[in-house]
């Protein structure tokens, strides 16, 4: 039961097929499994249904797979930073299912936790509620949302061990932990791979049971909006 693979391409070997469903962690370009997405791009797999909060930017992240038309359908909450996406969608070339961000996160968690459906107030009275079951609890109306699973989940963590235990860093955690639980197979890329026992068991965010394959990646970690404030003048400046 060796979970460690040498690179992204070999870690995806035997897992990919056309018309499959993929989950990819990340929020914007933060905490995206960039090496695995690149390998998915290079694999030429097509007809993909991609579940991911965002669609990357034109030339990075899932945007790469939009360029090559490998993605048939996106399930996302926000795709505002991607012109090619907007074009494909408005021209009808790409299917798109918008989910409110919290609903998307919860659907992934539910899928991984064996919960086929749950109720939420989010989206009641909006386009999102159309065609969905409505139900009242304590005098308020809620809609039913279903759990999501993927054939393969791609996640990015900061540190991992050879047992598949993962720790995320700061806001790069985002969708990765739930998506790790919702893949029939989950492949993780980490910045640093350590032996079991190095990570404090109280600090592990994703227990190794959810991770079947793991690689060390090379992370460019692009920044979408570089915002700064002026450094205060120092006395000795």
């Amino acid at each position: 039961m060796q979970k460690v693979f040498t690179d992204a391409a070999s870690a995806l070997e035997g897992l990919l097929f056309d018309d499959m469903t993929i989950m990819a962690g990340g929020f914007g370009l933060c905490g995206i499994p960039e090496n695995l997405i690149m390998a998915l791009h290079d694999s030429g797999t097509t007809g993909i249904t991609a579940i991911s909060n965002n669609a990357g930017v034109d030339d990075w992240g899932l945007g790469l797979l939009l360029q090559t038309r490998q993605i048939k359908k996106m399930i996302s909450s926000y795709v505002g930073e991607n012109k090619e996406f907007e074009r494909q969608y408005l021209s009808g070339e790409l299917e798109l299912e918008f989910n409110p961000q919290g609903t998307l996160a919860e659907r992934c968690r539910a899928g991984g936790a064996g919960i086929p459906a749950f109720y939420t107030k989010t989206g009641v009275g909006t386009l999102v509620a159309e065609g969905k079951e409505h139900k009242d609890f304590n005098g308020e109306t809620y809609i039913m949302e279903t759990g999501l699973v993927a054939d393969v989940s791609l996640v990015k963590a900061w540190k991992g061990d050879t047992e598949g235990n993962l720790i995320y860093r700061k806001t790069a955690r985002n969708f990765n932990p739930m998506m790790a639980t919702a893949g029939k197979v989950t492949v993780a890329e980490v910045e640093e791979l350590v032996e079991p026992g190095v990570l404090d068991p109280d600090h592990i965010h994703t227990p190794g049971i959810f991770v079947q394959r793991i690689i060390v990646g090379q992370h460019e970690k692009r920044i979408e909006q570089r915002t700064t404030r002026p450094r205060p003048a120092t006395a000795d400046a």
Partner: protein
């Protein structure tokens, strides 16, 4: 004289209370952070998975793993904690956030809000906005009172797809402040030198006028 963006943000800051956990939307709402009264302890949530959001970093100290919901580089504070998107929206949906301040394309007099989509034209997505307006205890909108073409944004009914139904509690625009209680809109404050007549002219929604205005 209508309020500037900064003045709208400053007015919104009056809605903060000590100990509040607050989510600020992208744009003018972000400016509210600059007007938190001295000595008041307010914790900012960023729905991508952070509580205790600090200011922008100094140049050269940007961390790609540390961004806010607007994808901007930010910093952490001593009280900061990080969590997953599921936990973040559990916090939002579960009613644990005291106040959400966000922008709008349209608001209706009953509190309906539209701020995520222009059919056939703009398909950015709702992001976390639908969750926030459905889950947060109190929702304050900051927006220009009229669109660039002068058309009213405070309407009898929204014609754009809704973000939430009856969710807005207060609107702060450049001309004044409105409250929505039990589905009824009331003008409660005017920007300096703005008259009730000015507001009426620039508003489609029916509203009552608070005593003393």
């Amino acid at each position: 004289m209508a309020w500037t963006r900064e003045q709208m943000a400053e007015r919104a800051a009056q809605e903060l209370r000590d100990g509040f956990y607050v989510n600020l939307g992208i744009g003018i709402p972000t400016l509210v952070a600059n007007f938190i009264p001295e000595g008041m302890h307010v914790t900012l949530q960023s729905e991508n998975g952070m509580l205790g959001m600090g200011p922008f970093p100094y140049e050269g100290e940007e961390d790609p793993d540390l961004i806010n919901a607007g994808k901007q580089t930010i910093t952490e504070l001593p009280q900061t904690s990080y969590f997953s998107s599921a936990d973040s929206f559990g916090m939002v949906r579960g009613g644990h956030i005291d106040l959400s301040i966000l922008g709008a394309m349209q608001v209706a007099q009953n509190g309906d809000l539209a701020n995520w989509m222009i059919p056939g034209k703009m398909v950015k997505g709702m992001g976390g906005a639908m969750d926030l307006v459905a889950g947060v205890k109190r929702v304050v909108v900051i927006m220009d009172h009229n669109a660039r073409d002068g058309s009213p944004k405070l309407l009898k009914a929204c014609d754009l797809p809704l973000t939430g139904q009856g969710v807005v509690d207060m609107i702060i625009s450049d001309v004044g402040v409105f409250e929505i209680k039990e589905g009824r809109l009331t003008l409660i404050q005017l920007a300096p030198d703005v008259t009730v007549e000015d507001v009426k002219e620039r508003t489609e929604a029916d509203f009552t006028i608070a005593e003393g205005l």
